[in-house]
């Protein structure tokens, strides 16, 4: 039985470090995608999943939007979300004050075979100018699709286990973390 979870909760505690390690294998997308479709199946009841995700802070974390806020030097990329909740769906859109235009839908459905809840995220982004490409390469190494997929996986892990898997803070033999070579 998964642990119950309680706020505060953030999906972003170590995203930048995670992105770096993945970037070394993956070729970073040079062109930011403006459309994204993502899906994940979470082994929890639909009511609990809907309630958790529809918390606006959690929703912001889930979408690329939170990474935009977290990107260094991008504080002026203000982003306000307008959220409409209705049965089985959350519609979101940036407000006129936002420099980043984003809109989309988060949908919830029971997984077949009573295997939990399927969350689908469909979103359109209009990202400002050439700076975005530079930001994507240097900060995340990912297109928006991959970023949201990472976030959905972290959401799934948290809701199923009460934890987000991490190796940040573990020991290694890298020169900046060791005192000496023994042999």
């Amino acid at each position: 039985m998964a642990q119950e979870f309680s706020p505060p909760f953030t999906l972003f505690s170590d995203f930048s470090a995670l992105a770096k390690s993945e970037r070394e294998l993956l070729s970073p997308s040079l062109e930011p995608q403006t459309k994204s479709r993502n899906a994940v199946t979470i082994k929890r009841d639909i009511d609990k999943v809907f309630a958790f995700v529809s918390n606006v802070d959690h929703l912001s974390d889930l979408l690329l939007t939170a990474e935009l806020r977290a990107a260094p030097g991008k504080e002026n990329w203000g982003l306000d979300l307008s959220v409409e909740r209705e049965a089985g769906q959350i519609r979101f859109a940036s407000t006129r004050q936002s420099l980043v235009s984003v809109r989309g839908t988060v949908s919830f459905a029971e997984a077949s075979g009573h295997r939990g809840t399927v969350i689908t995220v469909e979103s359109d982004y209009d990202l400002p100018g050439g700076k975005v490409q530079e930001w994507l390469k240097t900060f995340s190494g990912h297109d928006p699709h991959s970023v949201i997929q990472i976030q959905l996986k972290r959401l799934k892990a948290f809701m199923e286990t009460g934890e987000i898997p991490t190796t940040q803070g573990q020991p290694s033999g890298r020169s900046n973390e060791t005192s000496s070579t023994v042999h």
Binding site: M1, A2, Q3, L18, S21, E22, E24, L25, L26, T41, K43, R115, G116, S146, Q149, I150, K153, K156, A157, E160, T161, G162, E163, I164, P165, T166, T167, Q168, G169, Q170, P171, S172, G173, R174, S175, E177, T178, S179, S180, T181, V182, H183
Partner: protein, 390 residues
């Protein structure tokens, strides 16, 4: 703490590193009492597995004493001696609840990386590259175990480490390989590779009811070890053609099941094996699957090819037409170690098997770099290395 660290292709060093700490509520910290070097560690050593970084702590066959637990741990206590499975399951996802722990959805923090290579990521693994999570391994004085309630087998007091250490990997791996063969009374099983996993697969096949087990290798000491378990050894360097030899020995039918306990670094004397080596040297291929080709060709019609041997990338010239024509069943994958640990412990405690037979070398951690080289260079002399840690 001291730890064996990967430094590059065929380079391992002993480093003084920081000690692991509790990072998540379900963690435990274990003082390692014994660890082993695995044949699949040699794939890391030889540079076949991508995403290794200098300084990564190696090791996925580990056991020791619990010295700290996180607030979410319920099934393990400080002072318990545990064996740690090499694959990391969360215990709560669809796959873990189906006892398919090596396919865990949640334990690999770098799963998007594996998704891009494989479609969907499996579980994180200890000490086996960042593609599989980047978890620090257990060839060290201490190790952090995530989701320890799922990833631990508590050992009764008074049981020698050497008898149970291999519940972490090679014994469940060999057993699952045999279990996947769907062995029926009277069956003949052929095992390629008389290394530690092959040795366990041979003995597991007999435990599961096989009447005959053929073993194929070219290292005499390993073949002799297998023969002591009742297997019929075939040195492929001493026969005219391995496929003809197997067909002859099985009355023209072929083995009912074939186990590939070699994996991606197959050696061999066939033309295709030579081509594999040439391609790998020129980075035109990632794996050398000559054993897999032989297993497919040798297997009887309607038989099973069971693959515990590790493969990583793209394989060339696989006789899939033969596999289709003979209606073969393929079973493969990383071991669902947690599923098998308790029942196999019971077999050990019942004296049905003592896995420590496979140990040929016992070392201290400072001898680790030399042991890797010996294991890589002298597989006939060196079959299994155990590091006595504390």
């Amino acid at each position: 703490m001291k730890a064996l660290c990967w430094e590059g292709k065929q380079k391992v060093s002993v480093q003084n590193t920081g000690d692991p700490t509790i990072l998540n509520p379900g963690d435990a910290i274990v003082k390692v009492t014994a660890a082993a070097i695995c044949g699949s560690d040699l794939h890391l050593y030889d540079g076949y597995i991508p995403t290794m970084k200098k300084g990564d702590i190696l090791g996925h066959e580990t056991m020791g004493e619990v010295v700290a637990i996180g607030p979410g741990v319920t099934k393990v206590s400080v002072g318990d001696k545990i064996v740690i499975p090499f694959d990391i399951g969360c215990g709560h996802c669809h796959f873990c609840e189906s006892e398919e722990y090596s396919l865990c959805d949640n334990s690999n923090p770098n799963s998007v990386m594996a998704d891009k290579l494989y479609g969907y990521s499996g579980a994180g693994l200890f000490g086996y590259s960042h593609l599989y999570g980047g978890y620090a391994g257990g060839q060290a004085e201490f190790i952090r175990v995530p989701y320890v309630d799922t990833n631990s087998l508590v050992i009764p007091q008074g049981v020698d480490d050497e008898k149970v250490l291999f519940l972490s990997d090679i014994f469940p791996t060999g057993y699952m390989a045999a279990d996947n063969c769907n062995i029926k009374s009277g069956d003949t099983v052929a095992v390629w590779g008389a290394g530690p996993v092959g040795q366990m697969a041979i003995r597991s096949a007999f435990l599961l009811g096989a009447e005959r087990v053929l073993v194929i290798d070219h290292f005499e000491r390993r073949l002799q070890m297998a023969e002591r378990a009742g297997a019929e050894p075939i040195n492929y360097e001493e026969v005219d053609g391995i496929l003809d030899e197997i067909k002859f020995r099985t009355g023209g039918r072929g083995p009912d099941a074939c186990i590939d306990a070699v994996g991606l670094e197959a050696h061999g004397t066939t033309v295709t094996a030579a081509m594999d080596r040439a391609k790998a040297a020129m980075f035109l291929a990632t794996d050398r699957p000559d054993v897999l080709r032989q297993a497919i060709q040798a297997c009887k019609k309607g038989g099973v090819v069971s693959i515990p041997g590790v493969y990583g990338g793209l394989l060339d010239k696989i006789p899939f037409g033969a596999a289709f024509a003979k209606a073969l069943t393929f079973k493969m994958g990383q071991t669902h170690t947690q599923k098998y640990m308790q029942p196999l412990l019971q077999r050990i405690l019942n004296d049905e098997i003592d896995p420590s037979f496979v140990i040929t070398h016992r070392i201290e951690i400072d001898q680790g770099p030399d042991a890797y080289q010996l294991f890589s260079d002298s597989k006939d002399e060196c079959i299994k290395v155990v590091i006595k840690m504390h």
